[in-house]
């Protein structure tokens, strides 16, 4: 032992000091700083999204309109691929060697360790063959997903389609959607997106340092299940829709049928249509371009986006508003010398016939232009009010019939139609001293007026109900819930008392059921159908045939509007279509003579296309409407009065 013995304590002191430094550092790391725990969780936890099945859409009887069909995505984790029989894989997937290399490079660039999409949406048939050999392809996995499937290929514009979200969708949704998600782009798919999409589930998976999955976290305690989207019951009648689409084949136009008692839309045809299955699957991109470039614009939703001068149907509205305003009653008689003279007698709006003294019922039955010229003149010129005020009163009454503003149907892209304001005329004529003679065409539903087929059908529903309507809608129930939206059960008055409807209904009934009536050829035995032919003016070419009706006269079950573009006279083309649909709906049979049926089924009324020249359809529906979601610009419908001079129907 020597004096150096004390150095033992120095050395032991150093040992203790260092141990204390280490212990305090551990104290800080393990007990004070919480970020390390978070980092550890971030390291191992991966939230995997479980995609819910999108809600199915049924017709009013519960028959399927849209369902989900399984497809298979082939995924690859490049790092795990060994001894690959490339030729066999290419053959099974249906790609060539070059395509294989391209896909592998993309996958490798994304991550050698993470699975990424190799080929998407392999149909079930191809998958069956692939599955047998899948064990040979190490590093390849199959992930199943569902895509939309339309068993009857009907109601494309009504149902709409879904598409991958774009950056704007993601931003708008507050990052709810992620790249690769699908979103309803048009139609019901878009209108009811939030119900249809369901709720995504989350699975917490643990991964190792190379991002390889290592099993569930905490026995799935924090996982949530995916909740399938809601089932939507639409108001559509599938059988009727199928028939209507068949009847409208090779024609441009619309059919809208409404159940007056509820506002439920029974048939919603926009023609030409397309097979909604085209918007699904691997060919979607090509098909989409094909549809976009189709000169007849199948993506244009005619029932709610096409606007026509309504023609005769508007006489019904004028007859009702004039009665309500006290300007005429059912006994009011005007003299028809074969036309209505206005502008101090210098101009004439002609009638087809010379009826002499004519009462209201007959005026409706025979669609007398003269009668409604007089009645409109009374509304505007004889109310002891300045013209602009009288016109505004008239306009307000007309708007109550759902004209000039959108009806609020549950589909995106509905047009409001066109009904000019008093200001419009004051500006146009430079002062307020204009009168009924300046826009007399409005009395017969021509001129500066645009009404959608949906609005036409709704007017018929109002008449059928004798004074009110329910907002037309396409979805009547959501899952177990019997009411889709409360606003669909709200009774909306058209502002005309029920008693004023009788002469109008009588006139409409006679137009169909009395020999010589414009609709006599399409009358239905046993069913008292009330309706009228109409002609929507087309400043670009042949007029559009229109037929609107409701049936039966008492307790009406169906109100319908049929528009066939460029078909000329309404009774020939539109009438039989409406008649067949009504009879089919009410009696489940069609008694119309076979030769008429065949004529309709086989008719090809599509405008003949000449290369390099824009078509009628193009002009009518406007080529600017490539994207149905984009609001097409208003296209004022303007008809010069001179053209009106010989207008009649």
């Amino acid at each position: 032992m020597n004096g150096l013995f004390e150095r033992k304590y120095i050395i032991q002191g150093i040992f203790i000091a260092v141990a204390i430094v280490i212990a305090s550092r551990l104290f800080y790391l393990q007990l004070i700083d919480e970020t390390y725990l978070l980092s550890a969780n971030n390291n191992v936890l991966r939230k995997m999204v479980i995609y819910p099945a999108r809600g199915v859409i049924l017709d009013r009887e519960g028959k399927v309109l849209v369902q989900n069909e399984p497809v298979y995505d082939l995924l690859v984790t490049p790092r795990e691929v060994v001894d690959l029989d490339t030729a066999l894989l290419c053959e099974l997937v249906g790609i060539d060697r070059e395509g294989f290399e391209r896909r592998m490079t993309t996958a490798r660039n994304y991550s050698p360790y993470k699975a990424s999409q190799f080929e998407k949406q392999i149909p079930a048939s191809a998958y069956a063959k692939l599955q047998e050999h899948l064990y040979k392809f190490r590093g390849f996995y199959v992930q199943n997903r569902t895509v939309r499937n339309y068993p009857d290929s009907i109601a494309a514009q009504f149902l709409g389609y879904i598409q991958e979200v774009n950056d704007r969708d993601i931003e708008r949704s507050n990052k709810f959607y992620r790249p690769g998600d699908y979103i309803g782009a048009t139609g019901v798919e878009s209108a009811y997106e939030e119900l249809l999409r369901g709720q995504r589930g989350v699975k917490n998976v643990m991964v190792d340092a190379f991002n390889r999955p290592q099993g569930v976290f905490a026995e799935g305690k924090y996982d949530t299940l995916a909740v399938a989207g809601d089932e939507l019951v639409s108001s559509l009648d599938k059988e009727l829709q199928v028939l209507a689409e068949k009847l409208m084949r090779n024609k441009i136009g619309s059919v809208v049928a409404i159940e007056p008692a509820t506002g439920e839309i029974l048939t919603f045809v926009s023609s030409p249509s397309y097979d909604p299955n085209m918007m699904v699957g691997r060919e979607r991109g090509n098909n989409y371009m094909k549809l976009l470039n189709d000169p007849f614009k199948p993506m244009f939703i005619r029932p709610i986006q096409a606007q026509y001068p309504p023609g005769s149907i508007f006489k019904v509205v004028n007859a009702l508003t004039a009665q309500q305003a006290g300007m005429i009653d059912e006994h009011t008689i005007f003299n028809c010398p074969g036309g209505y003279r206005y502008g101090g007698g210098r101009a004439i709006m002609r009638c087809t016939h010379v009826d002499g003294s004519i009462p209201l019922v007959t005026a409706i039955q025979r669609s007398c232009n003269t009668y409604f010229g007089y009645s409109y003149a009374r509304m505007i010129d004889h109310r002891n009010l300045p013209t602009a005020e009288a016109y505004t009163l008239w306009r307000n009454a007309v708007m109550k019939f759902g004209i000039g503003e959108s009806l609020g149907i549950d589909l995106p892209g509905e047009k409001s139609g066109l009904l000019p304001t008093a200001d419009y005329y004051t500006k146009r004529y430079g002062n307020a001293r204009w009168g009924s003679g300046f826009n007399i065409s409005l009395s017969i539903g021509q001129g500066e007026m645009g009404v959608t087929p949906l609005q036409m059908a709704n007017i018929m529903a109002i008449v059928a109900n004798r004074g009110f309507y329910y907002r037309p809608h396409l979805i009547k129930a959501i899952g177990e819930k019997k009411i889709a939206k409360p606003e669909f059960t709200e009774k909306i008055s058209a502002g005309v008392d029920a008693k004023y409807y009788e002469p109008v209904v009588e006139g409409l009934s006679r137009a169909v059921n009395v020999p010589g009536g414009t609709g006599y050829s399409v009358r239905i035995a046993d069913i008292e159908m009330c309706g009228k032919t109409g002609t929507a003016q087309n400043p670009h070419g042949a007029d559009h045939a229109v037929f609107f009706a409701f049936a039966p006269r008492d307790n009406p079950k169906i109100a319908i509007a049929v528009v066939v573009e460029n078909a000329g006279y309404g009774g020939v083309w539109a009438g039989p279509i409406a008649s067949m649909l009504i009879e089919q709906y009410i009696k489940d049979t069609i008694t119309l003579p076979k030769y008429i049926q065949d004529r309709i089924f086989n008719a090809d009324l599509l405008p003949k296309l000449e290369t390099g020249k824009s078509t009628e359809a193009d002009k009518v529906t406007s080529s600017r409407r490539a994207d149905p979601r984009k609001d097409p610009e208003e296209e004022p419908l303007f008809v010069h009065h001179r053209i009106l001079a010989n207008r009649h129907d």
């Binding site: 120095i10 032991q12 551990l26 790391l29 393990q30 725990l37 191992v44």
Partner: protein
């Protein structure tokens, strides 16, 4: 001096308490290696293809080695220390020629499926020879010549290990400075001086060299003012300042021109000069995450996600402490640190009760080497010293390291048990 932990089994009074600590560390090591390489698909405890399976063989053979050491006559170790030294030096040369290169270091000689790491055994042999050499001069007062020769004994293996290049193992030899301190070859002020040198080194790299010199100048100024009456102290303060300033510049030079880039990176990381959790900092960052996420009680055996899913490289060897920190938490870490500290203090006590200078010097050597490994290994996993690849004694996976530390410790226990028998 009766101690309940001793008996006469190995021809003397063996310190059973130390053996108990040794056994505890081995068992803790085995369980944590098991956790670190645990594969749920092959949960068997004694699968010989896994690290923990092999480690159980190493532990078992370490026990046999320990028993053998205690049986062999103590004189054997002192007499043959030059031979051991010569063999390890030859092995260190051999490894440079026929060694296997693993992770950038040519440190292993493959013998069948086993890989011998001569640098682990070099510490043991150096320790023995140093003890023999210093004890031979223990009757004289410490002089510079003995110190220099002793330094040569250490520097020879250091140079050879540096050639592999395995900086971590080489640095471990410098821990023997405690031996020189205890034996009086180095005085207290010089130890302080050394500590100051390390501090300045770190500060220079962490901050700007001019800032460090400015601070040193300020402290010197304060010292001169405080000791203004004592000319002698003022002189030495000024000299110290000049030396420090020169040293700081040297550090800057060495750092920029002599250290290799991976060493620079590691130092930079520790000093917080580089934040790079994806690249070079990955290992340290993941190690801190593992330990930090263990919190107070730890995640439980085989429940550590960082451990289970291989986020920390080298986790069964140099970074085994991550597993302890993550699965056993602060409590488990303190237990391990407590065991080490107890062992170290115990060894110092054992050293001081030796009758021969040889046994005392050797025991201090053992304490120094174990202390260095303990402090540096745990220090690097929690980010207070640079990452240098050295194992945690008795706990890290590996036969060479477990055997060499066991031999190191048990030769000391043999001397202790036999102290009456050695002349």
């Amino acid at each position: 001096m009766t101690n309940p932990h001793r008996n006469k089994l190995f021809g003397g009074e063996v310190d059973w308490f130390t053996i108990l600590l040794w056994l505890l560390l081995c068992v803790i090591g085995w369980f944590n290696i098991h956790a670190a390489v645990f594969d749920p698909e092959h949960p068997g405890l004694f699968n010989m293809n896994t690290n923990y399976g092999k480690q159980s063989i190493y532990i078992f053979s370490a026990m046999i080695i320990a028993a053998t050491i205690l049986i062999v006559d103590a004189k054997f170790y002192s007499s043959f220390s030059p031979v051991f030294y010569a063999i390890t030096i030859l092995l260190l040369i051999a490894v440079l020629i026929v060694g296997r290169n693993v992770g950038g270091n040519q440190a292993w000689i493959p013998i069948g499926s086993f890989r011998l790491q001569p640098s682990e055994f070099a510490k043991l042999a150096t320790c023995l020879l140093l003890a023999r050499f210093l004890s031979a001069h223990s009757n004289k007062s410490p002089n510079l010549k003995t110190l220099l020769v002793g330094a040569v004994v250490i520097m020879l293996p250091v140079v050879l290990v540096l050639l592999q290049p395995d900086t971590g193992s080489a640095l471990a030899f410098f821990a023997l400075v405690f031996v020189f301190y205890r034996e009086g070859y180095i005085s207290g002020p010089w130890m302080l001086f050394g500590a100051l040198a390390i501090l300045l080194f770190v500060l220079t790299l962490a901050f700007n060299q001019w800032a460090v010199i400015a601070v040193a100048a300020a402290i010197t100024g304060l010292g001169i003012y405080y000791f203004r009456r004592k000319r002698k102290i003022i002189t030495s303060l000024v000299i110290l300042f000049v030396i420090s300033a020169t040293y700081v510049f040297c550090v800057e030079f060495v750092y920029d021109n002599i250290l290799q880039s991976h060493q620079r990176d590691r130092i930079n990381l520790i000093l917080g000069q580089m934040d790079d959790p994806r690249g070079i900092g990955y290992q340290l960052n993941q190690s801190k995450i593992a330990i930090g996420s263990g919190q107070f009680w730890g995640k439980g055996y085989l429940q550590g996600t960082q451990t289970k899913y291989n986020f920390v490289p080298d986790q069964s060897t140099d970074f085994i402490f991550c597993t302890i920190g993550e699965e056993w938490g602060f409590v488990g870490s303190m237990v391990v640190i407590g065991i080490y500290l107890t062992l170290l203090l115990r060894i110092v006590n054992i050293a001081e009760r030796q009758r021969t200078a040889f046994a005392r010097i050797y025991a201090y050597g053992v304490a120094s080497i174990l202390f260095f490994h303990f402090a540096i290994n745990i220090g690097m996993t929690i980010g207070i010293v640079p990452i240098i690849g050295i194992p945690l004694p008795f706990i890290s996976y590996g036969g060479s390291s477990l055997w060499s530390f066991t031999i190191l410790l048990f030769i000391m226990l043999k001397f202790d048990a036999n102290k009456k028998g050695i002349a």
